[in-house]
């Protein structure tokens, strides 16, 4: 009998999709190992917590305080650690998002628990959960076993399926946090207006040095917009100051696995490929037919970017209209 707890991430009162993925994964493990699934969320107002029932969660506890509207690492850690200590859980699952990656190690350190972060698979072997996680930016994978009494698993977003929710409703309990520790506090969230982030996007159009200059990235942005995709960039163009670091895909940028990744004018340096090789479909447009990117691309055009890309944009416009 394993007691699972899923930490539910919310922003502006809305549950993040990656938390549904974590909930569904926990309920899958619980049915294999025998066990129960509870969830916990922290914040002031949170909508739709009962919907977690559709992903296999029996009960959700909302740790509530009016002053905890934004993320506060210190208040969240204190609240979650207290909840786990008082209620006793064996395994804690959460999304390895910006918030999850910040919170999980704090909670693990406080509970003296082993942590596997950025998991891409969780399998049951005997009575153990074996976590698979990428290392060296995905150039290799490790299978790890967590041996502490409380175990924490942070799941890479977009990898685990949330499935189709059932109509089941979870029981929702509200517990007031008495005096939240607000020593570390988010005072403002600055959103990049109207821009999708590469780490959350289902499609990415990325440009590299083959774009020849920042002035040509308008084409990358146009194609991305048509496809509802995020814009990405190689390290070379970020280091040259053509694009912001938040768009960098690769070992010192973001590791992504969208359904569609279109690499334009990117040759495919090893550190770039490490960051996007797990994308489902990869399209490469590059004039050098021997570029390493073609080794991993599903579809490629070995031609001049400035001749191919405008035509590609036109064709997509036709398809979309």
């Amino acid at each position: 009998m394993t007691k699972f707890l899923v930490f539910i991430e919310q922003r502006n009162g809305q549950i993040k999709k990656s938390s549904f993925e974590a909930a569904k994964t926990a309920s899958g493990l619980a049915s294999k190992l025998g066990g129960s699934v509870e969830a916990v969320a922290v914040g002031s107002e949170i909508s739709n917590l009962e919907s977690l029932g559709g992903f296999g969660v029996d009960k959700v506890t909302h740790l509530k305080n009016e002053t905890v509207t934004n993320y506060s690492p210190s208040a969240y850690t204190q609240a979650v650690v207290k909840f786990v200590s008082e209620n006793g859980f064996d395994s804690i699952l959460l999304a390895a998002s910006s918030m999850g990656k910040d919170l999980a190690p704090r909670v693990a350190a406080k509970l003296d628990a082993g942590l596997a972060v950025d998991c891409v698979a969780l399998n049951v072997e005997g009575s153990n959960i074996i976590a698979t996680r990428p290392v060296y930016a995905g150039k290799a994978l490790v299978d790890v076993k967590v041996t502490s009494s409380v175990k924490v698993f942070a799941l890479r977003p977009n990898v685990f399926s949330a499935g189709t929710p059932t109509d089941a409703k979870a029981e929702v309990a509200v517990t007031i946090i008495d005096s939240p520790n607000l020593n570390v506090k988010v005072v403002e969230v600055k959103k990049s207006e109207g821009k999708l982030d590469v780490s959350e996007a289902d499609a990415i159009v990325a440009g590299g040095r083959g774009m020849k200059g920042p002035e040509h990235f308008g084409m990358i942005e146009e194609l991305a917009k048509l496809l509802g995709a995020a814009t990405g960039a190689s390290r070379a163009v970020v280091d040259s100051g053509w694009r912001p670091h938040s768009e960098q895909v690769g070992q010192t940028g973001k590791v992504v696995s969208p359904t569609l990744y279109i690499a334009v004018g990117i040759s495919g340096a090893i550190q770039h490929i490490a960051g996007m090789r797990s994308s489902k479909y990869i399209v490469a447009i590059n004039k050098d037919k021997d570029a390493p990117i073609f080794q991993i691309a599903d579809y490629g055009i070995a031609g001049d970017v400035f001749e191919v890309l405008p035509k590609f944009i036109d064709e997509i416009k036709k398809v979309k209209s």
Partner: protein
């Protein structure tokens, strides 16, 4: 004020990785090891903070003798002192954090910088764990840092934006690319670093909770088809994306 920087020694990002004979770690043969790229921002921020407010800087690394190269680089950039917590054995993140927390306490550092993650095991957790063990405040993945008295204001990168975070010393900060431009070591700095003593200490033995069972290569991806060599191939590419891949 004492400022600590925790650094790790990792394979260069351009390195090809092959699995070692034991099937649990990489084969280091032919791999160039460097200062963890994110730690360079940590070193730079420590130096900038000292230049502004005074104090003393110390670099700490946990690992084998080879980590001295990375500590030497930190000294060459301008860090005052270096400590090697000498241990060649495998340690999980929490076990690393426990050893570092112990040394930071000994050093009496009030402000500690870490790179946001080591580009080997890519956990991105040791800084946060260390802060909890020390009872320090912590902001991770920081792209801007300001210290005013004991008040700390940072921006941290999140999905599609930034969070502005306020806290106070003592604090652990984990650094992200974009925070600063790490300086190059000067020739004078490199020469001075050669003469400096690197203190060696024995950390408490590891007590790991995360055991590596196997390391493996990712599934090989088959090269697909080159549809053509100019824009005349575009309609076919779009057809394949629509009908075969069903992604647009």
């Amino acid at each position: 004020m004492k400022i600590a920087v925790c650094v790790s020694h990792v394979p260069d990002t351009a390195a090809k990785i092959s699995i070692g004979g034991d099937g649990k770690c990489i084969d280091p043969a032919g791999v160039t090891f460097v200062v963890n790229p994110y730690d360079e921002y940590a070193i730079e921020e420590a130096l900038k903070t000292k230049e502004k407010l005074g104090g003393e800087t110390v670099a700490i690394s946990l690992g084998g003798d080879s980590h001295k190269e990375t500590l030497r680089k930190a000294l060459a950039m301008g860090i005052d002192n270096a400590v090697l917590l000498k241990d060649n054995s495998y340690r999980d993140s929490l076990s690393v954090a426990k050893a570092l927390a112990e040394e930071i306490k000994t050093q009496g550092a009030e402000l500690v910088f870490f790179g946001k993650q080591s580009v080997d095991f890519d956990n991105s957790v040791v800084g946060q764990m260390t802060s909890e063990l020390l009872g320090y405040n912590c902001v991770s993945v920081v792209v801007s840092f300001a210290l005013d008295g004991s008040k700390v204001t940072c921006e941290r990168e999140i999905e599609g934006g930034k969070e502005v975070v306020e806290t106070s010393l003592p604090a652990v900060i984990t650094t992200q690319k974009g925070l600063n431009e790490p300086r190059y070591a000067s020739l004078k700095g490199i020469m001075a670093a050669k003469k400096k003593e690197i203190a060696e200490k024995q950390p408490a033995p590891a007590n790991n909770f995360v055991e590596v069972i196997a390391m493996k290569r990712p599934a090989a991806k088959q090269a697909g088809k080159i549809v053509g060599t100019d824009s005349s191939a575009v309609p076919e590419l779009v057809r394949l994306l629509r009908e075969e891949a069903k992604v647009i």
